[in-house]
C-alpha cells in the first residue's frame, strides 16, 4: 500500500500574511510608535484611576473648595490656603507641592483643591472629549466622503459645497462661535436635548469642525476607487451599491481612517484645551487639563505648578498621539495626508 500523501498548496507556498498582519508587524517593530502607545495606555489607566487616587492617596474631594482646611506637612499642620507673602499680606497663597505621594502632592489651586487629583479627573474629561469627538468626526467624515465620492452627481455637489463652506470658515473661530452660543443655553432641538454644562456639547462641536479635514481626502480616495477595475467589475455583474460600498470601498477607506484617528484625537485635545482655557469648553465644576491651566494662570507667579503640570500632560499625550500617527502612517498608508 502506497502512502499517498496529499500535497496541499499551503505546504509549498504558505499564504502570505494579510495587509493588516503585515502592517501590525511593521508597527510592532517601530520602537517610537510602541513607546508612544505604551505611554498613552499608561496615561489612560492613570486617569481612569482618578477616584481611587482621590480617595486613598489624596484623601480629598477635588471638586469641593477647601478654603480653611489644614494638612500635615513636615510634621506640623499647615493651612492649605495660607496668607500671601507680599508686604501687605493681601490675598492667599495655596500650599505648594510636597512632591511625595499623598495629599497635595502637586499643591493646591486657588480654591484649596488638590491639583494632582484634579489633574487625573481633568485628564479623564480631556481624553473623553477628544476621543469621543474624534469618533464623531471620523464617522461623519467617512459617511459624507464615501457618499460624495461614490454616488457623484448631485449628492457629491451638495456634500462638497457643505464641506467647502465649513472648510472656508476659520476652524477655531467656528468652534468659538458655536461654543459661545450653545454654552449659554444648551441645545434643544426636538428629541435632542443637551444640557449647557454637559460634556456632550464640546464633544459635538469639536467633532463636527474637523469633518472636512478627513472627509475631503476620503472623498478623493473613493473617487479613485470608483474607477478601479474591481469596482467597475462589481458594478458590471450587477452587485447592489450597498454591497460594493461595504465589501469593496469601506475596507480601503478604513486604513486611511486608522491613520487619521490619532492625529484627529491630538487636534481635538488641543482644541478642547484652548476652548476650556477661554472658559467655553468643559464647564466647572468639571475639570479638564485646559480649565486647570486657566485656573493656574492667576497663580502663575506664586504657584506655577498649577499651570505647568496640566500643560505637560497635554504635551506628552499629544506628542504620543502624533508619534503613533506617524508610525501608523508609515505602516499602513505612507501617502495618507490630513487636511488635503
Amino acid at each position: 500500500m502506497s502512502q499517498a500523501t496529499e500535497l496541499r498548496i499551503d505546504d509549498i507556498a504558505p499564504p502570505a500574511p494579510g495587509y493588516w498582519a503585515t502592517a501590525m508587524r511593521k508597527l510592532r517593530r517601530d520602537g517610537a510608535a510602541m513607546t508612544a502607545l505604551t505611554t498613552l495606555i499608561v496615561i489612560i489607566l492613570l486617569c481612569a484611576a482618578a477616584p481611587l487616587y482621590a480617595r486613598d492617596i489624596a484623601h480629598t474631594n477635588p471638586f469641593e473648595s477647601n478654603l480653611s482646611g489644614t494638612v500635615l506637612r513636615h510634621g506640623k499642620m499647615v493651612e492649605v490656603l495660607g496668607a500671601a507673602h507680599n508686604p501687605l499680606r493681601l490675598g492667599v497663597e495655596p500650599i505648594g507641592p510636597s512632591w511625595k505621594l499623598g495629599p497635595y502632592m502637586l499643591g493646591a489651586d486657588g480654591q484649596g483643591r488638590d491639583v494632582a487629583a484634579r489633574m487625573l479627573y481633568g485628564g479623564r474629561n480631556s481624553l473623553l472629549v477628544s476621543f469621543a469627538a474624534a469618533v464623531i468626526c471620523l464617522v461623519l467624515a467617512a459617511l459624507t466622503g464615501i457618499l460624495a465620492g461614490f454616488f457623484g452627481g448631485w449628492t457629491d455637489r451638495a456634500i462638497s459645497w457643505l464641506l467647502d463652506a465649513l472648510w472656508a470658515f476659520p476652524v477655531f473661530l467656528l468652534a468659538i462661535s458655536l461654543s459661545v452660543v450653545l454654552i449659554a443655553h444648551g441645545i434643544d432641538i426636538g428629541p435632542i436635548r443637551l444640557d449647557a454644562s454637559s460634556l456632550a456639547l464640546p464633544i459635538t462641536i469639536i467633532g463636527v469642525i474637523y469633518v472636512p479635514y478627513v472627509a475631503r481626502p476620503v472623498r478623493g480616495l473613493v473617487l479613485g476607487l470608483r474607477q478601479s477595475e474591481y469596482v467597475l467589475a462589481a458594478i458590471g455583474i450587477g452587485a447592489p451599491s450597498w454591497r460594493i460600498l461595504w465589501f469593496d470601498i469601506l475596507p480601503n477607506v478604513i486604513s486611511s481612517l486608522v491613520v487619521f484617528a490619532p492625529l484627529i484625537v491630538a487636534l481635538d485635545m488641543l482644541t478642547e484645551a484652548a476652548l476650556s482655557f477661554l472658559s467655553i469648553g468643559v464647564q466647572p465644576p468639571a475639570a479638564s487639563w485646559g480649565t486647570i491651566i486657566h485656573n493656574g494662570e492667576s497663580l502663575i507667579y506664586t504657584r506655577p505648578i498649577v499651570a505647568i503640570a496640566p500643560g505637560l500632560a497635554i504635551v506628552i499625550t499629544v506628542l504620543a498621539l502624533n508619534i503613533l500617527g506617524d508610525g501608523l502612517r508609515d505602516a499602513l498608508d505612507p501617502r495618507a495626508k490630513l487636511r488635503n
Partner: protein
C-alpha cells in the same frame, strides 16, 4: 488667466456670502440662542425683552435682520455694541488690526526662516541623528498648546528670571505701537513672535522635509548631479526651490487664519489688544455684534488670502488655470 481670476473672485464672493449667513444663523437663529433675552440681562421681564427686541430690530423676519446686520457691518459701519451701548464695533476692529498684523507678520518671518533651515538640514542629513533630533523637536513643537507656551514664556521672562541679565529687557505685557517707539515695538513683540512661531516652525519643517525628500527622487535632480553640481548646490538651488511650493500654499492659508483672529490665544496670553483680543473680550461679556463683526471680518481675511494663494498659483503654474 483673466478668466481664472474672475472665476476665483466670484467663488470668493459666494463663499463669503455663505459664511456671513452661517455666522448670522449661529448667533441669531440657533434654537435657544434668543439674543434679546441675553441683551436684556438675567431675569428680565417679558416687557423688557419685548422692548429690547423692538429696539434692536430682533422682532423682524430673519432675512430682514440679516440684511440690516450686513448693512450696518459693511455699508454704514455703525453697528453698535450690545454691551457698551453707543460704542461702534467696526472702527474698533480696524483699530485692533495693526496689532494683530504686527504679531503675525513678525512670527511669519521667524517661522519661515527656521522652517526652511530645519527642513533643509533634516533632509540633507536624512536618517542621521541630526535629522532625528530636528524631527523630534518639530513634533514637540506641534504638540504644545500655544497658550501654555505663552504662559510659560511669561513665567520665565516676567517672573522668576525677569531680573536676571537675560530677560531684564523684556517690557511689561502689552503692545507698543511702532509709530511711538520702533525699538519698544520690537521688544514687546519678540517673545509673542517666538511663541506663535513655534507651532508653525514644527509644521512647516516637517512638510518641507517630506517635500524635499520626494523632490530629490526626481529626474531633474539626477541631471543636476550628473552635470557635476555639488550635493549642497543640488539641494539648495534645485530641490529647495521646487519644494517651497508646498510651503507657500500652507503659508497663504495659515497667514490668513492668523490675521483673522487665529492668533487669539497668543494675544490673550500676552495682553496684545488685537482682533483676537477683541473677540475674547466680547466672549466674556457675550457681546454678540462684536463677536459677529470680528468673526466675519476674520473670514474675509481668510477667504481673501485663500483666493490670493490660488491666483498666485495660477500665475506661476499654467496647469492650475481654468481650462475653457
Amino acid at each position: 488667466m483673466a478668466g481664472t481670476v474672475l472665476r476665483r473672485l466670484a467663488h470668493m464672493i459666494a463663499v463669503l456670502f455663505g459664511i456671513s449667513v452661517l455666522v448670522f444663523l449661529i448667533f441669531f437663529a440657533t434654537p435657544g440662542a434668543n439674543p434679546a433675552a441675553r441683551i436684556a440681562g438675567k431675569d428680565a421681564s417679558p416687557q423688557t425683552i419685548a422692548r429690547v427686541e423692538k429696539q434692536f430690530g430682533l422682532n423682524r423676519p430673519l432675512p430682514v435682520q440679516y440684511a440690516l446686520m450686513m448693512k450696518k457691518l459693511f455699508v454704514t459701519r455703525n453697528l453698535t455694541s450690545f454691551v457698551n451701548l453707543g460704542e461702534k464695533v467696526v472702527p474698533q476692529v480696524f483699530k485692533a488690526a495693526p496689532v494683530t498684523l504686527s504679531l503675525v507678520s513678525g512670527a511669519a518671518v521667524i517661522w519661515i526662516g527656521f522652517a526652511i533651515l530645519i527642513g533643509a538640514l533634516a533632509a540633507a542629513f536624512r536618517g542621521g541623528w541630526i535629522d532625528r533630533l530636528l524631527m523630534v523637536l518639530s513634533l514637540i513643537g506641534i504638540s504644545m498648546p500655544v497658550f501654555w507656551v505663552g504662559t510659560m514664556a511669561n513665567l520665565i521672562t516676567q517672573g522668576a528670571y525677569h531680573h536676571t541679565w537675560l530677560f531684564s529687557w523684556v517690557p511689561p505685557l502689552g503692545y507698543i505701537p511702532f509709530s511711538r517707539s520702533p525699538l519698544g515695538w520690537f521688544k514687546a513683540l519678540v517673545i509673542p513672535w517666538i511663541t506663535l512661531a513655534i507651532l508653525y516652525i514644527g509644521l512647516y519643517a516637517r512638510v518641507l522635509r517630506a517635500a524635499l525628500i520626494e523632490t530629490m527622487q526626481e529626474d531633474f535632480i539626477r541631471t543636476a548631479r550628473a552635470k557635476g553640481l555639488s550635493e549642497r548646490q543640488v539641494l539648495l538651488r534645485h530641490a529647495l526651490r521646487c519644494s517651497l511650493v508646498s510651503v507657500v500654499t500652507l503659508f497663504g492659508l495659515d497667514f490668513g487664519v492668523l490675521v483673522g483672529g487665529g492668533a487669539l490665544l497668543t494675544e490673550v496670553v500676552f495682553g496684545l489688544q488685537g482682533v483676537g483680543y477683541l473677540t475674547y473680550q466680547a466672549l466674556e461679556t457675550l457681546d454678540l455684534p462684536m463677536i459677529m463683526a470680528t468673526v466675519i471680518y476674520a473670514s474675509v481675511f481668510v477667504v481673501v488670502s485663500n483666493a490670493a494663494v490660488d491666483i498666485v498659483y495660477a500665475a506661476f503654474d499654467p496647469r492650475m488655470r481654468v481650462r475653457r
